[in-house]
């Protein structure tokens, strides 16, 4: 699946279920509104200032459902310190249900209704770490949750950058881009050989860099194993920041449901990446 191009050209390459529409690389900076000329494009989720004590009202509405944050309570067992209860109004049935989030979520930022049985509640764990809660509206419970950076939702899919803690080494934080399919099970949204459903960091299916797609791994692959071993053994990490992948666009943009575009910056070049996951993530 060699699809990297050093020119401003496009290639269409298929690989299993994930279909790369193309990768183009170019030098230079990007204007601020790069990929969003199509009004249907879904922009990345807005970053709300992190201030849990000033939680703003949050709600979402579809033809069938209305979901709103109705209550917050202190919660000693919750990593985020609060339990968030949401009220779900089923318009056609005329019924009212609720669900509660009790985990590391410290602030609620956004609600997205996927269909009558699934919703996504996007929150913040800290000023730089976001958390995705996938809600089963039939069971009235959180079905899955995970940390991430720069989430972007369109329909059933969430595109994001794998959570990376602050660390001097690019070997740890080099960006890995992932997609989560809300209509698939939590197991299907994890690579095999992972650390189980309790793992909040290694969640989703890698879509870029290609090394992560090919090797089916979450950890950044910016060096071969021997280079990585040698570097890991020295405390003063000589690896330059430019050697790591990072986001060059203002987020990940859905061009339509299942087709996501973003710019990855790597080795001083910007790579425009377009990935099609409409046929599935398996």
């Amino acid at each position: 699946m060699a699809v990297r191009s050093d020119l401003n050209s496009w290639r269409v390459v298929g690989a299993g279920a994930i279909f790369f529409l193309g990768i183009a690389s170019f030098h230079g900076s990007l204007p601020s509104t790069r990929i969003s000329s199509n009004p249907l494009t879904q922009r990345p989720s807005e970053v709300r200032p992190f201030d849990p004590d000033r939680q703003s009202e949050t709600s979402a509405e579809s033809e069938d459902l209305s979901i709103s944050l109705s209550r917050m309570e202190p919660c000693g067992d919750c990593g985020g310190g609060r339990a968030f209860t949401f009220e779900v109004r089923h318009k056609r049935r005329g019924t009212l249900t609720s669900f509660t989030i009790r985990n590391e979520t410290a602030q609620i930022d956004e609600i997205a209704i996927v269909n009558s049985s699934r919703a996504i509640v996007l929150g913040s764990v800290s000023g730089t770490v976001r958390i995705v809660n996938v809600v089963d509206l039939e069971a009235n419970s959180v079905r899955d949750s995970f940390y991430c950076h720069f989430p972007s939702i369109y329909g059933r899919f969430i595109a994001y950058v794998k959570f990376a803690p602050r660390h001097p080494s690019p070997l740890v934080w080099s960006f890995v881009y992932l997609v989560y399919d809300v209509l698939a099970s939590p197991e299907q949204n994890r690579l095999s050989g992972g650390r189980g459903l309790e793992d909040r960091e290694r969640v989703g299916i890698p879509i870029y860099p290609l090394e992560n797609v090919e090797r089916k791994v979450y950890e950044p692959v910016i060096l071969d194993e021997e280079e990585a071993r040698q570097i890991a053994e020295v405390e003063a990490n000589p690896l330059a920041e430019e050697e790591a992948h990072s986001l060059g666009s203002e987020g990940l943009f859905w061009l339509q449901e299942g087709v996501v575009a973003f710019v990855d910056r790597w080795k001083r070049k910007n790579h425009l990446v377009v990935v099609d996951v409409r046929s599935g993530l398996a």
Binding site: D51, D53, V125, G127, F150, R166, H167, E241
Partner: protein, 285 residues
């Protein structure tokens, strides 16, 4: 001996009043000196002379991407202090302040270097190094590792473990500064099955920028930021005492957007570290 017609004193005075005024108009050479152009203190000091003159003063901030007019008003001679009005400046690189004072059609000019880049309105979040003694969670199993990848079982407070995993580093009660262990919990190394995400290495906490420090005057930026590098200083307009606060880039923030800076705080609380807000941010070079 003076020859020619003789006139009286009264006649002489009259002749001067009627004939010399249009022959000798007052010409002024306006002088302009910009003595201070300091974005940190938000001060532009301009001296105009002579003090008796008055005219239109045009104050401009020069930029390769388009100059910005700061002032275009009548001013008399003397020393004047102006603001950059930093919150109204467009995002671009600026190079110098220019002044032009026009008195009776004659223009005097002056300029002073003022190199800075207005980055725009940035979100300023905060991060810290939490102290375990300020965490309140129940003890949980954890491991302390060393450079040989030996694992020593211990317990740490549950919310402390969570904070180290999120922040990357923290201050433990019994082991001093610890950082999250990554290398010893990755294959092909052998490690306890529950060691990932609960293993920490005793190590001094250092920022990503080599040789730099972490304190209340440092910030972290997004990786590969287009305009900010290690060691760059930024003016955060409106933060703290007016006109703002100067901080230095010493760290990286993988979760930050390009228009976000993560401000380090020496507040060691286990939670409750909130955003500072949105501020116009200026790179000081």
């Amino acid at each position: 001996m003076i020859e020619g017609p003789v006139c009286t004193c009264a006649q002489v005075g009259s002749a001067f009043q009627t004939s010399l005024t249009p022959l000798l108009p007052v010409t002024v050479s306006p002088k302009v000196e910009i003595t201070t152009a300091d974005i940190i203190s938000d001060q532009i000091v301009v001296s105009l002379s002579p003090s008796t003159a008055s005219g239109g003063l045009l104050l401009t901030l020069a930029s390769p991407d388009g100059n910005v007019t700061l002032l275009n008003e009548a001013r008399s001679g003397g020393t004047h202090t102006f603001s950059f009005n930093p919150t109204a400046l467009p995002a671009r690189q600026f190079t110098e302040v220019r002044a032009a004072w026009t008195v009776n059609g004659v223009t005097g000019t002056g300029k002073k270097a003022a190199s800075f880049r207005v980055l725009g309105t940035y979100l300023h979040s905060q991060y810290n190094t939490p102290r375990e003694s300020l965490c309140t969670g129940a003890p949980e199993r954890a491991y302390i590792t060393n450079a040989m990848c030996n694992f020593t079982a211990t317990t740490l407070r549950s919310d402390f473990i969570r904070q180290v995993n999120l922040n990357g580093s923290s201050r433990s009660i019994n082991f001093g500064d610890v950082v999250r262990e990554f290398f010893c919990v990755a294959p092909p190394r052998v490690f306890p099955p529950d060691a990932p995400d609960r293993s920490f290495r005793q190590q001094s906490i250092r920022p990503a920028c080599s040789g730099q420090v972490l304190n209340d005057t440092t910030v972290a930026r997004a990786p590969n930021h287009r305009h900010l590098g290690c060691g760059d200083r930024v003016l955060i307009v409106g933060l703290g005492r007016p006109p703002g606060t100067v901080k230095t880039v010493t760290d990286l923030c993988p979760g930050c957007r390009e228009d976000q800076l993560d401000n380090y705080t020496t507040d060691e609380r286990c939670s409750g570290i909130t955003h500072l807000g949105h501020f116009v941010t200026i790179r000081l070079r």
